[in-house]
């Protein structure tokens, strides 16, 4: 299940232009005091596509991700989620240059689910409780149904036997897989990954990337902040290189990572590849 095994069946890059956007972001801007982190970010994510955000630390890529999940409130910009299914009836559009209400932030959060760099599992709950907490407490789904779903998802990531374990009893790789299952259980329109393998021991990275790749193949719509360029090349339909709060270059993964047009992208890619 290691990501390199799947190299031959790389994701369909040509699909980037197909499907309608689940998410579109226009002119996103954010400053922390005098420190401008996002200058002017546009982003479109089409249904079933995977977008990888890459760039040096401090480039603003994590802030973009956190803004999409309402964990940061941008100063300006418009975030639009298409309605689920084919109806456009429940489109959600937030204009951050105006005042955004708590209700709107909460609606925004319901559209996506985040997988954190440091997992952020709830340590006082078992694996199963972690996974059903959102569905049962927030989405008010029936407990038995949520448990059945959770068990299915846990089995898929090879953790069926860990359902009653507490997070501290799991390895980092296992914890992150629980983190992914917790996000999936919410049945969001969009999955967000914030450097999902950066806190893992190298030998555990493969398992987690393998799970993410399977999700990509199943057609989940995802935005991934990552430093794993080889992985990005394999699963991403589009790669966006950010630096200094701006998008420097974007395009199909193969183009941006193999033959970058911008000098800054070239330097970044070369430096990261040299690390290996």
């Amino acid at each position: 299940m290691s990501p390199t095994d799947g190299a031959a069946q790389a994701a369909p890059h040509g699909a980037a232009s197909q499907g309608r956007p689940v998410l579109s972001v226009r002119n996103l801007a954010k400053a922390f005091g005098s420190n401008v982190v996002l200058r002017d970010i546009d982003l479109d994510v089409r249904r079933g596509n995977v977008v990888a955000l890459i760039g040096p630390s401090g480039s603003g890529k994590t802030t973009v991700l956190r803004s999409l999940n309402g964990l940061e409130t941008p100063d300006a910009g418009i975030v639009t989620f298409a309605g689920p299914g084919t109806s456009a009836g429940t489109e959600l559009a937030l204009d951050f240059s105006a005042r955004v209400s708590k209700k709107e932030i909460s609606d925004l959060r319901d559209r996506s689910a985040m997988v954190f760099q440091h997992y952020n599992l709830f340590p006082h709950m078992t694996v199963l409780q972690n996974v059903i907490e959102g569905p049962v407490q927030v989405q008010k789904r029936k407990r038995a149904e949520a448990v059945a779903d959770a068990e299915k998802l846990l089995a898929r990531v090879g953790l069926a036997d860990k359902r009653d374990a507490y997070p501290f009893e799991l390895s980092g790789g296992q914890q992150q897989r629980v983190g992914i299952v917790r996000a999936l259980a919410l049945k969001p329109q969009l999955l967000l990954f914030d450097e999902p393998t950066s806190a893992l021991d190298p030998e555990l990275v493969g398992d987690v990337l393998g799970v993410i790749q399977e999700l990509a193949e199943e057609g989940w719509t995802m935005v991934i902040v990552t430093h794993e360029l080889a992985f990005a090349r394999q699963v991403a339909d589009e790669v966006i290189f950010m630096d200094g709060g701006l998008v420097v270059e974007r395009g199909p993964a193969a183009e941006v990572l193999r033959a970058p047009r911008q000098e800054r992208t070239r330097q970044f890619v070369r430096r990261l590849l040299h690390e290996f």
Binding site: L71, A113, F116, H118, N120, H124, V138, F168
Partner: protein, 221 residues
């Protein structure tokens, strides 16, 4: 000094009765009310509203900056001059609750702050509001951290309730005092009182250990 065994045995009755009908209910009632108050004050302290957090800060400062005995006297002997006349029991419960509210608020505030910010974010990402995250995610983790310091507060309260004897509450120490005054056996009676307080506190300490073990089940050892 020949020991008056008859007096020792016969005085245990009123002293233990004082513990059961005075000290223990006074402690439990004050601690329960005080803890609820403390949670409220802790949340006010953490509020982004400067007026709300300032109010809480002021309250904690007054409670911690004045002696408990003075607080008791202000409520029982002072308030009547403002036309508020309270019986010994309500006065004692109000004073002790307010006192616990101030001290435990700081413990609870620190415990809430000790839970990593990522836990709030994880709560938000599964769709929880602030209140829901607080109740389901943050407070259960803060509880574990706050058990040892709150146990300290609780045990101190057991002993502090002896001050209620000075505003005429019939409890353990007041009964001991009265028998001592009557029999003139001061050493014996006050040692008896001390022994009973100690036994109550020993029981509480073992209760603390049980609670800590229970709450530690999800932490690596």
């Amino acid at each position: 000094m020949p020991l008056n065994w008859d007096l020792i045995w016969s005085s245990f009755g009123p002293i233990v009765t004082g513990a059961v009908t005075g000290t223990i209910p006074l402690t439990l009632a004050s601690f329960a009310i005080g803890l609820a108050l403390a949670l409220l004050v802790a949340l006010m302290r953490l509020s982004r509203n400067a007026v709300v957090s300032g109010l809480a800060r002021f309250y904690v400062s007054v409670i911690r900056g004045t002696p408990l005995l003075v607080q008791l006297f202000v409520i029982f002997y002072g308030l009547p001059s403002l036309g508020v006349k309270l019986d010994p029991w309500p006065s004692a419960i109000i004073a002790f609750s307010l006192n616990i509210g101030g001290y435990a608020a700081e413990v609870i505030r620190a415990a809430i702050l000790s839970v990593p910010k990522g836990q709030w974010e994880a709560g938000h990402t599964i769709g929880m509001s602030r209140a829901q995250s607080l109740r389901r995610i943050i407070l259960p983790q803060a509880a574990r951290v706050s058990v040892p310091p709150l146990s300290n507060t609780f045990i101190s309260l057991v002993k502090d309730t002896s001050l209620a004897s000075l505003i005429l509450v019939t409890e353990l120490f007041r009964n001991a005092q009265q028998i001592a005054a009557f029999s003139q056996e001061f050493m014996v009676l006050y040692l008896e009182a001390a022994l009973v307080y100690w036994i109550i506190c020993l029981a509480l300490s073992s209760g603390q250990s049980v609670l800590e073990r229970r709450l530690d089940r999800y932490v690596a050892h």
